[in-house]
């Protein structure tokens, strides 16, 4: 029997079917690396610039359309939710007159489409409206809650990557051995454990029990508000003003929720790394490297790992985006004033400005991360040019 029954599957790092392929990068990676003449490659650089320009314009259009789609869907879902947004403003004892007045003030008396267009118009002027559940401009709310999530998610993804990637590579290199099995089971656990359960148990053990970490919240209450937000990231802000005490305290608060988030992303990252690596390690060029007498670590980390950096970045970008969407449950358990919580509360109150604003931010993050991994993709994969 021939080995190359599926010639097309060979180049396809995703054919394992585990890839939540969502990025344009993925699309390109799937293009079979067909035979290309050398001649065409010389004329390429000139056209590449043109294509970059077109790509940029295309990106702008696509992002705008995506945003609009996002807004439209969120907006209309928000309107069919059987929660009356006026009630979150006026409460349940308001009189009919007060209710009507608030309704008019919120612009809800106008036709839906009009409401949508005026909302979009405001958004283009940088005005996301006022949240009815906090009574503040959504922009300032987001400036408060998003950095909190950003901080936690970033540390989480760092933990996930720093541990997950080597674990995945190691498991793949030792496929079938007990090391592989342990790593697989460990990684799969991250898929299966309910976040809030783990959060509470983590708190009970490491905070209340062992006292290794600080408890819920971003920082001890006495430090709270001591540092003026510049970036909104406490770790950064505290270092900016040189307050190491706050820094360590904030870090101690951050470690546990970030570690739990890290565990979840680790699960995904390690799994995907393993599976990408397995694909690579079964490729012929790995044998070629061995034929050359290349040392095993180099075979794995240079020949095996280099080609998977691109899909891996996609995966990491995706998990990062997922963490940035905010894990409502972790945020709730850890009293973390993040965007996940904000959005959930807003949604449950039909606080549509807040919901739309948060969705926009999250969508922007998603698109931004997409773009970043796209750029990295160009840098890291010669086939992408």
């Amino acid at each position: 029997m021939k080995q190359k029954i599926f010639a097309f599957a060979k180049n396809n790092i995703y054919a394992g079917g585990e890839f939540a392929g969502t990025l344009p990068a993925a699309r390109r990676a799937l293009r079979p690396c067909g035979r290309q003449d050398i001649l065409t490659s010389t004329a390429r650089s000139g056209r590449a610039i043109l294509r970059w320009g077109q790509g940029l314009a295309g990106f702008a259009i696509v992002s705008t359309l995506t945003f609009l789609g996002l807004l439209a869907i969120t907006f209309f879902i928000g309107r069919v939710v059987p929660i009356d947004p006026v009630l979150s403003v006026v409460g349940d004892r308001a009189t009919q007159e007060q209710y009507d007045a608030a309704r008019v003030a919120m612009g809800l008396d106008r036709p839906l489409v009009m409401q949508f267009f005026s909302y979009v118009g405001d958004v283009f002027h940088g005005d996301l409206g006022r949240s009815v559940s906090t009574n503040r401009p959504v922009v300032s709310d987001l400036a408060r809650v998003f950095p909190a999530t950003l901080e936690m998610a970033t540390l989480g993804i760092l933990i996930g990557v720093i541990l997950g990637v080597p674990m995945g590579v190691w498991a793949a290199a030792r496929q079938g051995t007990w090391v592989d099995q342990i790593i697989r089971v460990f990684a799969l656990l991250g898929y299966s454990v309910p976040a809030f359960w783990l959060g509470l148990v983590g708190l009970a053990v490491f905070y209340a029990g062992l006292g290794w970490v600080a408890g819920p919240g971003r920082v001890d209450i006495f430090y709270d508000g001591l540092i003026d937000p510049v970036t909104g990231l406490l770790l950064v802000d505290s270092l900016l003003v040189g307050d190491t005490e706050v820094f360590w305290n904030a870090l101690s608060h951050l470690v546990l929720p970030a570690a739990i988030l890290g565990f979840f992303s680790l699960a995904y990252i390690a799994r995907m790394t393993r599976s990408f690596m397995l694909d690579q390690l079964s490729q012929e060029f790995i044998t070629t490297a061995r034929v050359k007498g290349v040392p095993e670590w180099k075979v794995i980390w240079v020949h095996g790992f280099k080609p998977i950096r691109v899909p891996l970045i996609t995966v990491i970008g995706l998990s990062y985006a997922a963490l940035l969407e905010g894990s409502v449950m972790i945020e709730t358990v850890f009293s973390w004033p993040g965007i996940g919580n904000y959005l959930t509360v807003a949604l449950l109150n039909a606080d549509m400005n807040a919901v739309l604003g948060s969705t926009l931010v999250i969508g922007a993050v998603f698109i931004f991360i997409n773009k970043i991994s796209d750029v990295l993709y160009r840098v890291l994969d010669p086939r992408s040019l």
Binding site: D37, S41, Q283, G293, V302, P382
Partner: protein
Amino acid sequence: MSQSTSARLLEVENLRVSFPTPKGRVEVVKGLNLTLGRERLGIVGESGSGKSMTGRAILRLIRRPGQMTADRLALEGQDLQTLSERQMRNIRGARISMIMQDPKFSLNPVMTIGAQIAEALDVHERLSRRDTRARVLEMLEAVRINDPELVAQMYPHQVSGGMGQRVMIAMMLIPRPDLLIADEPTSALDVSVQAQVLDLIDDLVRDKGMGLILISHDLNLVARYCDRIMVMNAGRVVESCAAADLHKASHPYTQGLLAAVPRMKETRDTLPVLDRSSWSGT
């Protein structure tokens, strides 16, 4: 032609390679014996007859779950089977190297061609950057690559199949191995380039006393470039003869193969075909 003249470079006795299947282990190389001096040995046989597996087995590079066993596997008297993986690494590339069959899949897609060739050199020789580079370019030129500087910076997907094969050849020749296993090294080359490249390998055999195992299913080609020919079928050697005597081959399988090749001045109405029932594994 000369029959195994010089010292025994490679000795293989009772080489077996097997793979597990739902119906139990299946041997794809079934007790192959081979002794090679500093000469050119051709291995021919149809697809799936175990040619490539034999080559890999010599390098101890059969992948799991495949398994190989041999009563003897020695390079210049040194038993390869007793070597540790680390010692084996020193043998690979430097002493025995193998031109892999399919350059499209056998070159690392994200490393430049230059880097991949240089790596083959680096592993075994301590050379300065500049020297390495010079050697790489020299080697690329030797395999008739037109613009070595440019090609050295290209990635495998940017070169044609034929160029890929030549890159592969360069990469495996650069550490100047004692024994070269060439697995279909020229199947994607134009007929004219094919001749040039094979001449290059031929030179090395003559000048450096390199041993060559040339794997192919092109009978004409093997006849032209080898001293000795082994014909494989279904994991067994069915015939072994001097290249010049190929057309006199006695084994019906070999005869069948020879007869099946169409000729330029074709007059036959049908080509004779092998009676596979007595040979084929599938």
